[in-house]
Subunit: 358 residues, 2 copies
Amino acid sequence: MRSIHVDTGVADALAAFEMPQRLGFGVLMAPVMYRCQYQDGRWWDAELMPYGPLQIDPAAKVLHYAQEIFEGLKAYRVDRDRAALFRPQMNWERMNLSARRLCMPDIPRDIFMQAVQTVTAYCEDFIPRNSGQSLYLRPFMFGTQPDLSVAAANSYSFLVIASPSEVYHSGSMRVLVERNDSRAAVGGTGAEKVGGNYAASLQSVQATLAKGFDQTLWLHPSDRRHIEELSGMNFFAVMEGELHTPALSGSILPGVTRDSLIQLARALDITVHERPMDIDDLLALIKSGTCTEAFACGTATIVSPISVLGDADGQVYELPDTPGPVARQLRQALLDIQEGRGSDRFDWMSPIPPECYP
Amino acid sequence: MRSIHVDTGVADALAAFEMPQRLGFGVLMAPVMYRCQYQDGRWWDAELMPYGPLQIDPAAKVLHYAQEIFEGLKAYRVDRDRAALFRPQMNWERMNLSARRLCMPDIPRDIFMQAVQTVTAYCEDFIPRNSGQSLYLRPFMFGTQPDLSVAAANSYSFLVIASPSEVYHSGSMRVLVERNDSRAAVGGTGAEKVGGNYAASLQSVQATLAKGFDQTLWLHPSDRRHIEELSGMNFFAVMEGELHTPALSGSILPGVTRDSLIQLARALDITVHERPMDIDDLLALIKSGTCTEAFACGTATIVSPISVLGDADGQVYELPDTPGPVARQLRQALLDIQEGRGSDRFDWMSPIPPECYP
Ligand SMILES: Cc1ncc(COP(=O)(O)O)c(C=O)c1O
Ligand SMILES: Cc1ncc(COP(=O)(O)O)c(C=O)c1O
């Protein structure tokens, strides 16, 4: 393993940390963080530090041109002796796709794995052990070079912070179809986990909440007809017992949960269709009773049933089965693996190597 | 005027600052910066501080969801006793359009003006006095709330930093038509000065340079046919002595320089067409000799003639007049106003109020 410098303040930070009664999602930050910096064409020594403010030059590229990418994955300890990560390899690979899209250096596998494993190991005592809870890990990287020209930076910080969390959304969701705004263009950054996609989505997220819905459903930015995804989740619908999800269009994030559910469904003999899904067709199929279930999925939320799809014209389309049998079955199968109850038949769980512990 | 706290280090920072021989663009940072913070629903006291690193929480929204906007404007001192800003009101208005698009609070006019005026006043001695040089001012604002949910922040920093600069691009430019990537979607953030647009453009900027060109020419993200703009400049072409520029499509930045050139051209009896401009038509018109000039404009570059348009298929289209008579005439008319030689007939120059000086 790469050497890592453990800051002298880490032990005190760990000792001083107290777990509150209520966790929420992504609000409570774990007491340590990992940082590795890239400069002069190479990665320098990694540090584990107490969680705390970063020093950033006011002209750093990240603050002006949003040269920033991130990932999200979880460490589980429910029904486990020691913590385990869910499919970290997928997040590492996707993070490097994001990095390339924004002209950032690749993150070596050993740095990424050291980062998520070490933060998890040091925080093991703070990983909640009730079903649905976990340690949410947030790897991120941004350009630090202070220079106002529109060009890629020559220096970067890669960090991992973590948050002991509940699921992002519990219960069922009311979802509003977005007919005007887009989160990313064709030829843009929609297939990558890039800060700008989320900035572009905020206006719709806010309007959606104001209208009494929980989440925006995004359509294809050019044809304005095909379903893409939600702001932080992929979309599924169930018709006659079969699963339908938008094909990866190039502007959709290829979700790790989406991929996992597709594999699980097939293993459970549920037919899965990855295909372009026209929103008007879907709404008609809900109305006619052919589409009985819809749900969203993602690392933060796992599987969240959708109770209602609302359209911009004020029409609402209720899904009769909420939570429906397919969503429930898939959610349970996935959680059973993540939470150590089911057999890890796909080899998805990644234990923390002993040398990562303090 | 709003009260402003001048940090005790400012005098020393100013005294220690040395102007180098070569300036470049946006590389040399002026020794002071302005900051005003927004929290609990209101703006707090402003500070003028020595230029230096900011403290940012690792979970701040800006580092993950790119909730960040910026502006660019210039203070001129060529042929002037005291510094003057070019159309700062336009930048203030546009910055608030950007703020609204990203669900950020409006910046009050007095804060914006105090910021750009005070930084200019304190840096007056560092505003270069050769034609084409100026003090480039960079107002920017970002979300600081530490919270990983995809939602607008409840706290913000607004800053102004500055850079004594040359023009961004001198001489003529070779411009490459981008047929694949997009910088912003229809329904996205292309009409606003939002970090994510620039992150999305980096890949094309880099590929363009690698192919021996200077700038990317962006097309409409959905129709892939109509010309939008360059990565930091608007686009103009001259046909039979008349000026043509893409109409504001909703995904183009409404440039202050673009607006100024349109006004200047009309005052000089040059006919101006703001209209959708098809790239293939334009290339054909260059080939046939009808289109004789093309140029780009923006705060950083002022007016930059385009010598060549290259297409993705390898074809190159040379503009016979580089720099052409219309570009030269407009550039001179604009610089004469900015640099205090011509009469300020449109009332564009904004002097710094005496109370802003140290
Ligand atoms: C836009 C978007 N879509 C989908 C997802 C779901 O992906 P994953 O299952 O990898 O978490 C996420 C986030 O995680 C996301 O940000
Ligand atoms: C994308 C883009 N287009 C055009 C411009 C030109 O606008 P202005 O003339 O206001 O500087 C800029 C920058 O300034 C820009 O970033």
